[in-house]
Amino acid sequence: MLTLENLSKLFGGVRAVDDVSLTIREGEIFGLIGPNGSGKSTTINLITGLYTPTTGKVTLDGHDLTAMAQHERTSMGVARTFQNIRLFGNLTVAQNLWVAQNGHEQRRAHFLARWFKAGGEHGPDIEELLRFSQLHSKRDLQANALSFGEMRRLEMARALASNPRVLLLDEPAAGASQEDAQLLAERIRAVRDRGVTVLLIEHMMELVMGITDRIAVLNFGRKIAEGSPAEVQMNEDVRAAYLGGSHKNEELVHA
């Protein structure tokens, strides 16, 4: 469904992403892991269009996204959340969703009609999304006024409001407690059950190993392994990559 074909990105002389090919299947939760600086964030930015790849291409259901602007990719069905939350702080919770709301009929509507029409008719139902994210009681609060956990939920809801086929989650468990991570895992499964394919970048190994169907491991911009969580955990290259003296290795072994 979402495929990366021989994707590379050079920054000056540095190969941030080096000839990475991946195929993410419809309806799966796919994990992308690797030590810090291994190219995970760059990969996400190549998929959403913040960066243009030096070589290679990104396709979604056979449509080539590589030359598209970011907002065009969003309407094709690519959505993301940010590692450091980026909400529209001065807008209300409901407005955050409304701005991102995107549906097929709406895209065809004349832009003036789109801009002056109150939301809720096309694309995902905002009220339903608010309930799904347990933010319904906060719908008219400014996003700035939310707690950290609520902000994370709102950011995911905003991504879902754009009616994505695939959702990229960039370290959604950063700053979360063990219990929060549990709830997050349930939430990610619930997102998948809505018919959205999930690409998860995460350092919390317990979470990744627990909910993903398949995992790819990056190191120094290259893909060094791909497979089920069990396969990846047994992989010698992966163990070596995580053995760089980092505590991450223990996480990997104990997960």
Binding site: T48, G49, L50, A69, Q70, H71, T74, S75, V78, A79, R80, F82, R86, L87, F88, G89, N90, L91, Q95, W98, V99, A100, N102, F111, R114, W115, F116, K117, G119, N144, A145, S147, F148, R158, A159, A161, S162
Partner: protein
């Protein structure tokens, strides 16, 4: 003395409301693009000359003149946006500023060639009576300025809060990266924001020209400077600040003109700008970066 002060303040508020509209135009563009448009005033000047020409050639009434000013300002702004902003969006903000500086010179030179005289007449609101509020007099064109500015600001506030375009504009000013991945078409919103700013500036320019009754090609530079000063006094990037900055500038100028003369007015204006930069670097309505960070940390 006290009566003079009150009278000057009333006049100053009216002119200040027009300054506030100019500052609002700057602020909209700055908020969405993080770029200064030096050619903002000169775009308005083109509109004003279009209106004056229409009036001189065809003796049309105020409504067609107004529409000509609006159309001239908006069309010129579209030209400026394509040349100085859309074409070099990826480059440093300074590139756009320098480019819009060049466009300003181009526009001013073009108008000076076509209209070689020093000043031209602009139609005024004739036949409206002076309004007396006790001992204070209010010029009818100043009343029009105040009412128009208030109505425009109210409409803008409503639009920014309730229309999709308004929300998209705010998301782009607030979180450009997140706006892009939420499907906001940056190029289109930026372009339309430019046109909206020019329309607001055109309305302000029309009101100012109609109150003065005469114009020169320098009115473009003048509008840029007044708008910029008002914006800086009020705080970069805040709509409310732009308006307050305009009103403060208008009131201070009117009083300085009365008590100190024309030279004293200019000096007072720049002294005000200096004080604002030294004492309130974030502007009257602005908050400092440090304050914003502290607020963010409190939340976490």
């Amino acid at each position: 003395m006290l009566l003079d002060l009150v009278q000057n303040t009333v006049d100053g508020l009216a002119v200040g409301a027009a300054y506030g509209l100019l500052a609002l135009g700057f602020t909209l563009i700055f908020g969405v693009m993080r770029r200064l448009n030096i050619a903002f005033g000169p775009s308005i000047m083109i509109g004003i000359f279009a209106g004056a020409w229409l009036h001189a050639e065809w003796s049309v009434g105020m409504v067609p003149v107004f529409l000509a000013v609006l159309a001239g300002a908006v069309i010129t702004a579209a030209y400026v946006e394509r040349i100085s902003f859309a074409a070099i969006r990826g480059d440093a903000a300074l590139a756009s500023m320098a480019s819009s500086f060049a466009i300003w010179m181009q526009l001013e030179e073009a108008v000076a060639r076509v209209f070689p005289g020093r000043t031209y007449g602009f139609p005024t609101f004739d036949g409206m009576p002076m309004i007396e509020i006790g001992p204070v007099l209010l010029r009818p064109e100043y009343l029009v300025m105040l009412v128009t500015a208030a109505a425009l600001v109210a409409a803008l506030q409503w639009g920014l809060a309730h229309t999709r375009f308004g929300l998209e504009l705010r998301t782009l000013a607030d979180r450009p990266e997140a706006a892009r991945v939420s499907g906001v078409n940056v190029a289109r919103v930026a372009f339309l924001t430019f046109l909206l700013a020019a329309a607001i500036g055109g309305i302000a320019g029309f009101l100012i020209a109609a109150a003065d009754g005469q114009i020169t090609p320098k009115i473009g530079l003048w509008a840029t400077i007044k708008g910029l000063i008002a914006m800086v006094i009020g705080g970069l990037g805040s709509l409310r600040g732009a308006l307050i900055g305009g009103l403060v500038l208008g009131v201070v100028e009117a009083n300085a003109q009365w008590f100190l003369g024309a030279a004293g007015r200019e000096m007072t204006t720049y002294a005000l700008l200096f004080l604002a930069l030294v004492l309130l670097p974030a502007g009257l309505a602005g908050r400092t970066e440090a304050g914003a960070r502290a607020e963010a940390e409190r939340r976490l």
